[in-house]
């Protein structure tokens, strides 16, 4: 299953045609690393995947069970994901083009 996923990675359109990474690049590698239990690698590939998955799981549970503070926690999770994604992307861009 994991090997199949690893052999069928989708190339990012941004990388394919423009040669520059998008904020979501590394998500698939991060997901595979997560499936293998390699949390550090997962965070290294894309730190935003873990909070994003947590937010999605939270969303599904909230839609099913309707928690009292569900909506607010989803917004917090979403904000956390977004901030991580943006900071990671900006740092990556600075690292690539800043030198």
């Amino acid at each position: 299953m994991i090997n199949w996923l690893e052999q069928h990675l989708v190339t990012c359109l941004s990388v394919k045609y423009l040669g520059m990474e998008c904020p979501g690049c590394g998500m698939q590698r991060a997901f595979i690393a997560l499936l293998r239990g390699q949390f550090a690698d997962s965070l290294h590939y894309n730190p935003a995947l873990l909070p994003f998955l947590i937010t999605v799981v939270m969303l599904l549970f909230h839609l099913k069970f309707d928690f009292k503070h569900g909506a607010r926690s989803i917004v917090i999770g979403f904000a956390f994901t977004t901030v991580l994604m943006v900071v990671n992307y900006v740092l990556k861009q600075v690292h690539i083009y800043g030198h």
């Binding site: 359109l13 520059m20 994003f52 909506a71």
Partner: protein, 137 residues
């Protein structure tokens, strides 16, 4: 603000108080009606999806975000005509989805602008290289 006739004055006061407090504090009581707002779930899901689809130059994210915003505006208008008939949780979901959609739309838009700017810069670079080659300089 129209309140159904079957509500007693006391109920009206409670509802009004609740609506005034709603934006400032988190209500622990459920004074809303029994009907969920239309599209509240859809707005929430679309809002979250809008941030996850940056791999397509931000176009999908922008589309999802804008659809979510339009839906949430419609639902908010419906909610404002008669707040007491809708469930509080669906209103909270709608607001949460709206926030996510706004953030997702803005970020997707920024990403699209960044990509367009990058293409423009690349285009100028390639153009000047090509021009230089043609001119022999």
């Amino acid at each position: 603000m129209e309140i159904p006739n079957e509500n007693t004055p006391n109920d009206q006061q409670v509802t009004q108080q609740f609506n005034q407090q709603f934006n400032t504090s988190d209500p622990t009581n459920n004074l809303g009606g029994g009907t969920p707002l239309p599209n509240a779930t859809a707005v929430l899901v679309l809002g979250i999806v809008s941030i996850a689809t940056c791999w397509c130059y931000g176009i999908i994210g922008l589309t999802c975000g804008i659809i979510a915003l339009v839906l949430s505006n419609k639902s908010l208008a419906i909610y404002k005509t008669n707040p007491s008939t809708f469930t509080v949780s669906s209103y909270k979901n709608l607001n949460a989805g709206r926030i996510c959609a706004i953030v997702g739309t803005i970020l997707s838009g920024l990403h699209l602008i960044y990509i367009v700017a990058a293409i423009a810069v690349l285009g100028i670079t390639f153009g000047s290289v090509l021009g230089g080659a043609l001119l022999g300089s």
